[in-house]
């Protein structure tokens, strides 16, 4: 690739590979911008590409990383390529080694790529433990070839356990490592290197994993959630309603009203915009598996409850418990949460969403109306998934929308068949940071009915 146009197209492909949406129109704008800039200074060049190709703040870091790796002198580029090749070689060797180590009676095990990646990152003693297990199983009495699927499943369970221990950031890095490359040597090393450099770091709290939120950050989190939730309370509809106050003249009503006066406009009618106030029902999973997210979920309950008036809040684990009253009592977050945790029988229990939804349907059916937005905040690890899906299906017909905020990273969803099942009856969103929540609220909750 030599010409500027070729380089620009290559650069756009890299950005797309890094998850930045760049359209053809934007690429053309970038080319146009290069024809109108007067001085060909590196900073001006960077600014021209940035302002035409990048259209939101979240993508700016990816742009900077890719730009700094791609638009470099040939010597630096050569060095980068060599480093990339050596990294690739090392990855390949690790993969081959993993294939050789994970064998059953001399045959390689069939494991998904993402679990193989988890294996490669295991501590040495853990790898050794798995290899010993495979060795002993392979040579056990009456162990036949047909045992291989059983062994594979055991390995998958073990590696899945280790995968669950990984933080979403580590998972994101693994996903980045598996990122499909462009098949162009000159571009792939930039994609690979830029993908490994991580997030934006602009607003750390916004992008922070909820499980890592510190005690002192909770007021900030609560304030942010309150601000996000505020829009829900005052959503102004585009529909109009009649009003006695002098607003817009309602011509149709005015004419109808004044026909009795022979069309003379004696009594004018006015109209104003409707204010849309959705009914919100919030179901928050407080079971053992959700304990690590409690620093996010409780401020979320508190924040939404203190801002949105017509909201009913429930927590659930083995059953449903209404907690709306706790949030009406006081403005003090710590006080509310202390009494909630002390009084609730659900905290830290196992999860059975099916029972919780059945209780909701039976005991609080007046809450499930066509204007209700039902939120479920949960990692979707529940007993009786089929029954849960059945309840979700029934409730989805009664309410306006079910929005499921799933604290599990999307990379893991594929391993839970229940998530696919539940997704049929609700809109499910990955939500383990405030940035996720912001996007969900912004894109989904403020929409008109």
């Amino acid at each position: 690739m030599h010409s500027l146009a070729d380089n620009l197209v290559g650069f756009v492909q890299i950005l797309r590979q890094l998850g930045v949406r760049v359209s053809i129109a934007e690429t053309i704008d970038a080319v146009d911008s290069l024809t109108v800039i007067e001085q060909f200074d590196r900073d001006v060049f960077r600014a021209a590409l940035k302002s035409t190709l990048i259209k939101n703040s979240e993508d700016q870091a990816a742009f900077d990383q890719a730009f700094n790796l791609f638009f470099v002198p040939p010597e630096a580029k050569q060095q980068q390529r060599e480093d990339w090749d050596s990294k690739q070689q090392s990855e390949l060797e690790q993969s081959q080694q993993a294939q050789e180590e994970l064998v059953f009676q001399g045959r390689p095990l069939e494991l998904p790529d993402e679990l193989m990646d988890v294996y490669k990152r295991l501590p040495e003693q853990e790898k050794k433990r798995l290899q010993d297990f495979l060795g002993k199983t392979s040579t056990g009495h009456n162990v036949k070839e047909s045992f291989q699927p059983v062994v594979e499943n055991l390995l998958k369970s073990s590696l899945s356990f280790w995968q669950r221990q990984l933080s979403p950031e580590d998972l994101a890095q693994l996903a980045a490592a598996r990122r499909q490359l462009l098949g162009h040597h000159e571009l792939d090393h930039v994609v690979g290197s830029a993908a490994g450099l991580g997030g934006t770091g602009r607003n750390s709290l916004l992008y922070k994993n909820m499980q890592d939120i510190a005690e002192h950050e909770i007021p900030q989190v609560t304030a942010l959630i309150k601000r996000l939730a505020h829009r829900l309370t005052t959503r102004i509809s585009r529909r109009f309603r009649l009003t006695g106050r002098r607003k817009l003249i309602d011509i149709r009503q005015s004419i109808r009203r004044n026909t009795r006066y022979g069309g003379t406009m004696i009594a004018l009618k006015y109209k104003t915009k409707k204010i849309h106030k959705p009914n919100i029902v919030l179901l928050c999973d407080v079971s053992a598996s959700m304990t690590k997210y409690v620093r996010f979920t409780l401020p979320l309950l508190f924040g939404l409850s203190s801002v949105v008036k017509n909201i009913e809040t429930f927590i659930f684990a083995t059953d449903l418990e209404k907690v709306t009253a706790y949030f009406k009592r006081s403005d003090d977050f710590a006080q509310v949460i202390t009494s909630l945790v002390a009084d609730s029988a659900q905290m830290g229990q196992g999860t059975n969403l099916s029972i919780a939804l059945t209780s909701l349907k039976a005991d609080y059916k007046q809450l499930l109306s066509p204007s209700t937005l039902l939120f479920i905040i949960s990692d979707a690890n529940t007993l009786a998934p089929v029954e849960t899906a059945g309840e979700l299906s029934a409730i989805s017909k009664k309410v306006k929308r079910i929005l499921w905020l799933n604290t599990q990273p999307k990379e893991r969803w594929g391993q839970h068949s229940a998530i696919t099942l539940f997704s049929q009856y609700c809109a499910m969103f990955e939500c383990y940071s405030l940035a996720h929540l912001t996007k969900i609220l912004s894109l989904n909750l403020t929409r008109q009915p």
Binding site: A25, D29, K50, T446
Partner: protein, 314 residues
């Protein structure tokens, strides 16, 4: 569209013009604004409140000595408020008057004529005789339907009024849209715009801004103020971080109090200018305090003179 309507300005001229208006900018900002002008595309500016997004439109109107037409967006804003409305009251009076008078042959065209048209910002921008600056402020406050309506107008720069026909812009306005990122804007709108993100400035840039906007501020005071504000932004978990506008307000009030350097008493007396809600004020008092801020500024600005025991520059 009349391509000749583009004001001829070079990048160095734009830099000088911005500086003359007291707007301190960097190469990224200047290049982006320049491209928006040259490519005749709307400029979408995002960033935290008070970092100077709206100011860009104001500066541009001054640079090109043209009218600034502002559409302040809010929830529920509709086409009537943004584009045009018929003056129903006047129309009704006209109908009534024509009935009462001898001349009763009033036609529809008589009451749907330009004199009964209430021009709102978008129509005003399209009908302007000289290329105006159209500021669509806080576009994120409107709803999606209005946004979709808006970007159609921004693409074609023409409006169809059923009773009057199509009104086509003789000059494509210089359009500046601002957003505080309250709501995710549509891909369609973003694609049509040249994009600029303005972050809080680094200390050196903020010193320059203070000096440019408030020449009475001494170098030392400007440095201490910029350092203090930067420290607050980076070290305190605030719901509303102090913006550049607040930095400038703070500086003005300190100057009004005849201050030439920061000290803890002054900070204590004036912190209401920096913190605009109770929680942030409490967080400041609890986590840092006036003394703590003074100490932090002192550490960061070691080269300053010491004027008193309490002086931040000591």
């Amino acid at each position: 569209m009349d391509k000749q309507s583009t004001p001829f300005i070079t990048m160095p001229e734009l830099r000088v013009a911005f500086e003359a208006q007291g707007y301190i900018s960097d190469i990224e900002l200047l290049t982006t604004v320049y491209l928006a002008l040259k490519l005749e595309k709307p400029l979408l500016v995002e960033g935290a409140p008070g970092v100077g997004k709206t100011e860009i439109a104001k500066v541009l109107s001054k640079v090109f000595n043209t009218e600034l037409i502002r559409l302040q967006c809010y929830e529920g804003l509709d086409e009537n408020k943004a584009l045009y409305e018929w003056n129903y009251q006047r129309q009704l009076i006209k109908i009534q008057m024509s009935r009462d008078s001898a001349c009763q042959n009033l036609s529809e065209n008589d009451i749907f004529s330009p004199e009964y048209l209430l021009e709102r910002p978008l129509l005003k921008a399209i009908r302007a005789e000289k290329r105006p600056v159209l500021l669509i402020d806080e576009i994120d406050k409107t709803d999606e339907e209005f946004e979709a309506f808006l970007f159609e107008i921004l693409s074609d720069f023409q409006i169809s009024i059923p009773e009057l026909g199509t009104v086509k812009a003789s000059h494509i306005p210089i359009v500046v849209l601002t957003s505080n990122h309250d709501r995710e804007l549509s891909e369609g709108l973003r694609r049509r715009c040249i994009y600029l993100y303005i972050d809080y400035p680094p200390i050196e840039k903020e010193i320059n801004i203070i000096r440019a906007k408030i020449p009475e501020a001494t170098e030392k005071l400007a440095q201490q103020i910029a350092t203090a504000v930067n420290h607050l932004r980076t070290n305190l978990m605030l719901a509303k971080q102090p913006s550049i506008a607040e930095t400038l307000d703070w500086t003005r009030s300190l100057i009004a109090m005849h201050a030439d350097h920061l000290d803890s008493t002054l900070i204590q007396q004036t912190m209401g200018l920096l913190f605009k809600n109770r929680d942030d004020l409490m967080a400041f008092q609890k986590d840092l305090g006036a003394e703590g801020l003074c100490k932090a500024v002192r550490q960061a600005t070691t080269t300053m003179d010491c004027h008193s025991d309490k002086s931040c520059g000591g």
